[in-house]
C-alpha cells in the first residue's frame, strides 16, 4: 500500500511542479508585488504596504471598471444562462430539427473572439453597418447611432456582442437533462403533472448543479473578458466599456505601473472567489439531489 502511495505521489509530481511554476508562484508574486511601488520607469521596487489598495478605491477608473465587471457578471449569469437553459428545455422535448439547432447554435461559440469582435465592428459600423442600414431602410434614421462609440449605446452594444451566444450552456444543460432517469419523469406523469409542471418541479430542480456550473463558467468568462472589448471599443468612449482586465492591461502597458496593475489583479482573483462562493451557496451545489 505504501509503495502504491509512493507511485501516486511520483506520478502527481510533474503536474504539481507545473502547477507551482505556472500558477501558484505567479499568484503569490502577484499578491506580493501588489504591496510595492513597482514601475518600469522606477529604479526598483519600494514596499508601500496597502497604499496601492487605498489608491485603487480612490481611483474613479477603478470604481467604474469594477461596476462594469459586476454588471456584466450579473447579466451573463442571469440573462445569458437563462437563455441557454430555456433553449435547452425546448430542445429537450426533441422537436423536429432539434439536433440541427443544437449544432448550429454552437457555431458562434467556436469562432475566435477576435473574429467575432471584427464581425460586430462591421455590424455596428455607423456608415455601412447592418443595424443602421436596416433602421434607415425602414425610415427610422433618427434612431441610428454610432453604437460602439457613443457613451449611451456603447455598453449595451458591447454586451450584445456576447450575450446571445449561449451555446455552451445549452449543450451542457441539454446533456444533463437527457441523462435524467426516465422513471422519475414517468412517476411525475403518473401523478398527473403537465409538461410545464414537469419542467418546473422535476427537470429544473434536477438541473440545479449543472446550471450552477454554467453560471460559474459565465462568471469566470466575464471576469476574464478582454479580447472582445479590446477589439470593439478598447474600453471607450471614455471608460464607458472598461472592465477590470482592460483597466489592468492599460495600467500595465501604458502607465508601466506593475505594482498597481497587480493590485487590480488581486481584486479580480478575490472577486472570482466571492462570485463562486455565492453561486455555490445559492444553488446548494454540495447537497445531494435525492
Amino acid at each position: 500500500m505504501r509503495a502504491k502511495k509512493r507511485w501516486i505521489v511520483l506520478f502527481l509530481l510533474p503536474a504539481v511542479i507545473l502547477f507551482l511554476l505556472i500558477y501558484a508562484i505567479p499568484l503569490v508574486m502577484v499578491f506580493l508585488t501588489s504591496l510595492f511601488d513597482y514601475r518600469l520607469t522606477g529604479s526598483g521596487m519600494t514596499f508601500v504596504g496597502l497604499k496601492n489598495y487605498v489608491q485603487m478605491f480612490h481611483d474613479p477608473a477603478f470604481r467604474t471598471s469594477l461596476l462594469h465587471t459586476i454588471i456584466w457578471i450579473l447579466i451573463h449569469c442571469v440573462l445569458h444562462v437563462a437563455l441557454g437553459v430555456a433553449l435547452a428545455l425546448v430542445l429537450y422535448k426533441k422537436p423536429r430539427g432539434w439536433k440541427f439547432v443544437r449544432t448550429t447554435y454552437m457555431i458562434p461559440n467556436i469562432i475566435s473572439n477576435a473574429a467575432v469582435g471584427m464581425i460586430f465592428l462591421n455590424i455596428f459600423n455607423p456608415q455601412y453597418g447592418v443595424v443602421n442600414s436596416i433602421l434607415r431602410a425602414v425610415g427610422l434614421e433618427r434612431l441610428t447611432h454610432n453604437w460602439l462609440n457613443e457613451t449611451a449605446t456603447a455598453f449595451p452594444s458591447v454586451t450584445m456582442v456576447w450575450l446571445l451566444f449561449a451555446g455552451y450552456t445549452t449543450t451542457l444543460v441539454l446533456a444533463e437533462a437527457l441523462s435524467i432517469d426516465e422513471s422519475v419523469l414517468e412517476a411525475a406523469k403518473v401523478d398527473g403533472a403537465t409538461g410545464f409542471q414537469m419542467d418546473k418541479f422535476v427537470v429544473l430542480p434536477l438541473l440545479r448543479k449543472i446550471i450552477a456550473t454554467t453560471m460559474v463558467m459565465a462568471a469566470t468568462y466575464m471576469l476574464q473578458m478582454f479580447d472582445l472589448i479590446y477589439v470593439t471599443t478598447n474600453g471607450g468612449p471614455g471608460k464607458a466599456t472598461t472592465n477590470l482586465p482592460l483597466l489592468l492591461y492599460g495600467v500595465y502597458k501604458s502607465e508601466n505601473n506593475y505594482g498597481y496593475a497587480n493590485t487590480i489583479g488581486v481584486v479580480i482573483i478575490l472577486l472570482g472567489a466571492i462570485v463562486m462562493t455565492i453561486i455555490n451557496k445559492l444553488f446548494r451545489v454540495n447537497e445531494d439531489d435525492y
Partner: protein, 434 residues
C-alpha cells in the same frame, strides 16, 4: 516487475519532458567563427514592414564590411507593438539586446530610467563624419541632459495629401495657406457634397492628432513651446483648448461617420477610395497611391501634397538606434559600430532610394534618382523646405498612456459629452499619472 519498469520509464519521460520544457534554450544563431562578435538584433522592421528591405541590405553590407570581426544576426519580431512589449519585458529583467531601435515609441527614456543606455557622446565627438549628421533637431530627439544616447536614420516630415480632382470639383485651386482658409475650403467641399477630411479616433488617432498638433504649433508662441516640450503635462492651456474646439468641429462636420471609433486604416481607405478630400500623413503613404490592391490605377495622378497652413510642417528625426550597456565590452563596441553604420549618410541615402524614407540629416543629398522614383516625395520635400514653423508630432512627445486616452476621449469630444476644456482636462489628468 515489468509493470514497475514501464511505470518508471513513463515517469522518467514525463519528468524529462517537463524539465526540457522549462529549461532555458538560447536562440539558435548561426555558428560564428572564432573571435567574431555576434550582435543579436531583434527588429520589427521585417516581413511586410516598409523598412525591412533597407534593414536587410544594411545587415548584409555590415556583415560583409566587418567579416571576421562582427556579425549581426537578425531576429524577426513582426509588429511594432510586439517589439515594444518585448523590449519592455527585457527592460524589466535588465537583459536588453545590444541595439534597440527607439522609433516612434520613445523607448530611450525608459532605457535611460534604468541606466542601461550607453552615452554615445565621446564616440560622436571623436568622429567628425558622424557628428556632422546630427542636426539641432536630431540632437534634441536623441539627447538627454546634454548627452547623446541615440542616432537617427530616418526623418519624420509630415504634411497632408489632398485629392486634386475633388478640389477641382469644388472649385478649389490650391491648398490653404491659413487655417481660416482651410476651414473655408472644408465648407466649400461640404457644400459640393464632398467629405472634406479623412480622420480617425482609434489607435491613438494618428491622423486627427496631426491636425491638432499643427494648429497648436501655429496658434501662438506658447503653443509652439508646448509642441517642443517632451512629455508635456498641462493640456489646460488656451491654445490647446481653442484648437481642440476646432478638432471637435472637424469631427462633427467635416469627416465620415466611421471616423468616430475608426482606425487609421478606415481613414486611409476613405481617402484612397476618393470618399474624402484630405488626409494628414507622412511620405510613407505615397506608395499606397499607386498600389492597385488599395486604390484605382490612376489615383496617384490625382494626389497633391501640401504643408499645413501658416507655413507649418512636422519635421523631426525619428528617435534612432540606442546602444545598451553590456557585460562584454567587445559586444558594446560592436554595437556602437553597428549604430554608426546603420545611421551613416550611406544608410540614410539607401533608405531614401530603396523605400522613399526621408533622411534624418538635412545634409544628406536628395538624389536625382530618388526624385525620379518618388516625384510626390520630391515635391513635398521642396515645399517642406519653405516651411517657417516645424516641430515633432504630438504622439512622439506625449506620455505613452495618453495614446489610449486620446482615443477614448475623442468620441466624447465629438458627441459633445465633453467640451474642449473637458477634453483637455482629461488629457492633463492622465498625464499626471506619470
Amino acid at each position: 516487475m515489468k509493470k514497475r519498469l514501464f511505470a518508471f520509464a513513463l515517469l522518467a519521460a514525463m519528468l524529462v519532458g517537463l524539465l526540457s520544457g522549462c529549461g532555458a534554450k538560447k536562440a539558435e544563431t548561426p555558428a560564428a567563427e572564432d573571435g567574431v562578435v555576434v550582435i543579436n538584433y531583434p527588429t520589427f522592421q521585417c516581413g511586410v514592414n516598409t523598412a525591412a528591405p533597407v534593414v536587410d541590405q544594411l545587415i548584409s553590407e555590415f556583415n560583409e564590411t566587418y567579416a571576421g570581426k562582427y556579425q549581426i544576426v537578425k531576429e524577426d519580431v513582426p509588429g511594432d507593438a510586439n517589439y515594444v512589449d518585448k523590449i519592455k519585458v527585457q527592460l524589466g529583467t535588465g537583459d536588453l539586446p545590444p541595439v534597440i531601435y527607439g522609433a516612434g515609441y520613445n523607448l530611450l527614456d525608459l532605457v535611460i530610467a534604468k541606466d542601461l543606455a550607453v552615452d554615445l557622446t565621446p564616440y560622436v565627438e571623436a568622429d567628425p563624419e558622424w557628428k556632422a549628421l546630427y542636426s539641432d533637431a536630431s540632437l534634441a530627439t536623441n539627447s538627454r541632459d546634454g548627452k547623446i544616447y541615440a542616432s537617427s536614420v530616418e526623418g519624420s516630415q509630415v504634411g497632408y495629401f489632398y485629392n486634386k480632382e475633388l478640389f477641382a470639383q469644388a472649385g478649389i485651386e490650391a491648398p490653404a495657406t491659413t487655417w481660416d482658409e482651410l476651414f473655408q475650403q472644408c465648407e466649400t467641399l461640404k457644400a459640393a457634397g464632398i467629405t472634406p477630411m479623412a480622420l480617425d479616433t482609434a489607435d491613438s488617432a494618428w491622423i486627427t492628432q496631426l491636425w491638432w498638433g499643427a494648429m497648436v504649433a501655429t496658434a501662438s508662441e506658447d503653443g509652439l513651446a508646448f509642441m517642443q516640450t517632451m512629455n508635456p503635462r498641462d493640456y489646460n492651456t488656451p491654445e490647446l483648448i481653442s484648437t481642440a474646439e476646432k478638432i471637435q468641429k472637424m469631427l462633427q462636420e467635416y469627416t465620415t461617420l466611421d471616423a468616430i471609433g475608426g482606425k487609421y486604416e478606415n481613414a486611409a481607405n476613405n481617402f484612397l477610395s476618393g470618399q474624402a478630400a484630405m488626409i494628414a500623413n507622412g511620405p510613407w503613404m505615397i506608395g499606397d497611391f499607386s498600389d492597385t490592391t488599395k486604390t484605382t490605377a490612376d489615383f496617384a495622378e490625382k494626389v497633391g501634397v501640401a504643408i499645413y497652413p501658416d507655413g507649418f510642417v512636422y519635421d523631426a528625426p525619428i528617435q534612432g538606434y540606442i546602444v545598451t550597456k553590456q557585460d562584454d565590452p567587445k559586444l558594446e563596441e560592436a554595437a556602437i559600430e553597428m549604430v554608426k553604420f546603420f545611421t551613416s549618410a550611406h544608410a540614410q541615402q539607401l533608405g531614401l532610394e530603396m523605400q522613399g524614407m526621408v533622411p534624418a540629416s538635412p545634409s544628406v543629398e536628395i538624389t536625382d534618382y530618388a526624385k525620379e522614383q518618388y516625384p510626390l516625395l520630391a515635391e513635398f520635400l521642396d515645399k517642406a523646405s519653405e516651411a517657417t514653423v516645424s516641430t515633432d508630432n504630438m504622439q512622439a512627445t506625449m506620455f505613452s498612456n495618453l495614446l489610449d486616452v486620446i482615443s477614448q476621449e475623442l468620441p466624447r469630444l465629438y458627441s459633445g459629452e465633453l467640451d474642449a476644456a473637458g477634453f483637455c482636462q482629461a488629457m492633463t489628468d492622465a498625464a499626471a499619472k506619470n
